[in-house]
């Protein structure tokens, strides 16, 4: 029994001047899957995310989300359909506190118009209190209560990263696009993340597409993996098959593809464990 495709990308083409960033990239993610997007630095993974969320307008190709063609929708409209993302260099607003950031992420489900809020119409006060309560719950789930009223700009990297994740969830999405969720985490924390991701999928019925360099994590949680190299799809498949794929090894190691023995796992996480992305 195959579940329906939540995200489908067909023939994505993205050029910056003479540089072909993405070339005829197609992929799909089914509901309830955790899918990995891996590839060496500069392969076009984050650019792909930017095309999916509408930050970049690709020259060709189409993006379908939840059964509709979103290729020409602006970013905020795609977000409202249930697409949430985290950022490699963090999607928190430094000038706001953790609570305010999470409440910012609730923007699309605030349920009142900006004008109503500005005029202080009756329902908005009540709704603000509800949003604040929901935010407090999310903050507690992620163990951020201690820093709830601190400005995120003053917090350490790991905490801000957690806040970014909390924000992605606060928007009540159908799908999470995670850009290197494990970067900056210790190896143990990264494996702990595997449990969190699975819980999100199983309890909140989320579908996840993630860019990740931390290979043990990818092998652990992903149902399916796409490998990107120089903007093109190198291969795709289940993690176990991917890690023995000669071209993948070559792309990562930069050498000739001649695996003489079954490799343990040749793809080293870049910069991990003390890595910066």
């Amino acid at each position: 029994m195959k579940r329906r495709q939540l995200l489908k990308v067909e023939g994505l083409m993205l050029r910056f001047g003479g540089l072909q960033v993405l070339n005829d990239l197609s992929l799909s993610v089914r509901e309830g899957q955790i899918v990995g997007l891996i590839g060496p630095n500069g392969a076009g993974k984050t650019s792909c995310f930017n095309c999916l969320t509408g930050i970049y307008q690709p020259q060709g190709g189409r993006v379908f989300f939840d059964g509709r063609d979103v290729s020409h929708l602006p970013t905020h409209r795609r977000a409202r359909l249930g697409m949430a993302r985290t950022w490699q260099n963090l999607g928190v607003i430094d000038a706001l506190t953790v609570t305010e950031n999470v409440m910012l992420a609730q923007h699309q489900r605030a349920g009142y118009s900006a004008l109503a809020g500005m005029l202080g119409l009756a329902g908005t006060w009540h709704r603000e209190r509800e949003l604040r309560r929901d935010a407090a719950e999310i903050i507690e789930y992620f163990g951020l209560e201690e820093v709830a009223d601190e400005r995120t700009g003053a917090l350490p990297y790991g905490v801000r990263k957690t806040c970014d994740m909390a924000m992605a969830l606060a928007s009540d999405p159908k799908m999470l696009l995670l850009d290197e969720p494990a970067s900056g985490l210790s190896p143990e924390e990264a494996l702990g993340l595997a449990g969190t991701l699975r819980e999100l999928r199983d309890r909140l019925k989320l579908t996840i597409l993630m860019i990740e360099h931390h290979v043990p994590l990818v092998a652990e949680v992903c149902d399916y993996v796409y490998v990107l190299n120089f903007g093109e799809l190198l291969t795709e498949g289940e993690p176990a098959a991917i890690q023995r794929h000669p071209e993948v090894i070559a792309a990562y190691l930069g050498g000739a593809a001649e695996p003489t023995e079954p490799p343990e796992w040749p793809l080293q996480p870049e910069g991990a464990p003390n890595g910066t992305a």
């Binding site: 509408g54 977000a79 949430a84 910012l104 923007h107 009142y112 900006a114 603000e128 924000m167």
Partner: protein
């Protein structure tokens, strides 16, 4: 158990006492601020109106620059168009004051949206240049359009009989200021404020969180223009005559600087700094020339050009020592008054 209850009661009593004290302090401060209006005669009533109008302008710039992070060096255009619209309504059409002020607000908002549409394409330094050019152009074109503004002679903006005295007019200005303060407070306390903070800091992040960046930018421009236009309408009736020279670039520059000196996103700071810069040119020259000892080479003419220098010096001090402006200096006091715990 008993001790725990006692401790709790004491905390409650202290809090209640703290609240009573805070309310007393606020009332005392407001009363102190109202004193000149009650006791000061027409001159002070007039000055307070001017201070309130400046504060409304400061809050207008605060909406645009403080909340949305967009710069405008052409605010004299928005305020001026509001002023001429109000004067036109009052003297040509004989419309009631309320209609005149509404027209002023709409005219200001409309003008600001036009600039806002440009701001969607350019940011930062280029936006500053565009708004600067727009303000200067408005001065020489719209404000000198004889049929609308009366050309060099200016346009009259008579007050209705009930508001003829300065003492009757000042509460109107303070009322509008109160209204704008309320709007500002609701903006920062709702999703609008959070969305604007996101737009100000990172448009990409804002958009992926579902914030319509374009919409919020335009909304900030139109609201800022609306408030500026309202202030212009009040100014027209305050002065009872509007001339193009009232809205020169230097004035707009002072408005932006006073908002920064007051502290972006600090309501109290913006009000205090605006009032200060509204009254400085009126009071300082008289005060200095009334001093018994006059330094050589200085005279009243020199004193009249002092205020702009003072603005610039204060700006430098603020930028160097406390970038949050007056608002930052006042934060301990405002935090106590609002009942927030100091950590």
């Amino acid at each position: 158990m008993a001790t725990a209850t006692m401790v709790l009661t004491r905390v409650k009593v202290q809090r209640r006492f703290g609240l009573a004290l805070r309310v007393t302090v606020v009332i005392a401060l407001l009363a102190l601020a109202a004193l000149p209006l009650l006791l000061g005669g027409d001159v002070w009533a007039q000055r307070i109106s001017r201070a309130a109008i400046y504060a409304v302008i400061g809050l207008s710039i605060n909406t645009l620059t403080g909340h949305a992070g967009q710069i405008s060096l052409g605010h004299q255009a928005f305020v001026g168009i509001g002023a001429f619209a109000a004067a036109f309504m009052a003297s040509r059409l004989g419309a009631p004051l309320g209609f005149g002020l509404a027209a002023a607000g709409v005219a200001g908002a409309f003008t600001a949206v036009v600039i806002g549409l440009v701001a969607l394409r350019v940011t930062g330094l280029y936006l500053a240049l565009v708004t600067l050019a727009f303000g200067l152009t408005a001065e020489t074109t719209i404000f000198n359009w004889r049929e609308f503004t009366g050309g060099g002679a200016g346009a009259f903006a008579p007050r209705p009989a009930v508001l003829a005295s300065d003492h009757a007019f000042a509460p109107l200005c303070l009322g509008v200021l109160g209204l704008v303060l309320y709007l500002d407070w609701r903006i920062v306390s709702t999703k609008t404020g959070r969305a604007l903070a996101a737009v100000r800091n990172d448009e990409r992040i804002a958009s992926t969180l579902g914030v319509n960046v374009t919409g919020y930018k335009l909304a900030a421009f139109s609201l800022s223009g609306l408030i500026a236009g309202l202030a212009g309408g009040l100014f027209a009736h305050w002065n009872q005559i509007v001339q193009a020279m009232d809205f020169e670039f230097q004035v707009a520059l002072v408005w932006v600087l006073m908002t920064v000196v007051g502290g972006l996103r600090s309501r109290l700071g913006v009000i205090l700094a605006s009032a200060f810069f509204a009254l400085l040119p009126l009071t300082l020259p008289n005060f200095l020339s009334s001093l018994p000892w006059q330094p050589p080479f200085l005279n009243e003419a020199v004193y009249h050009v002092l205020p702009p220098f003072i603005v610039v010096v204060m700006l430098l001090i603020v930028l160097r020592c406390f970038p949050g402006g007056f608002g930052q200096l006042l934060r301990p006091a405002t935090a106590w008054l609002s009942g927030k715990r100091q950590s």
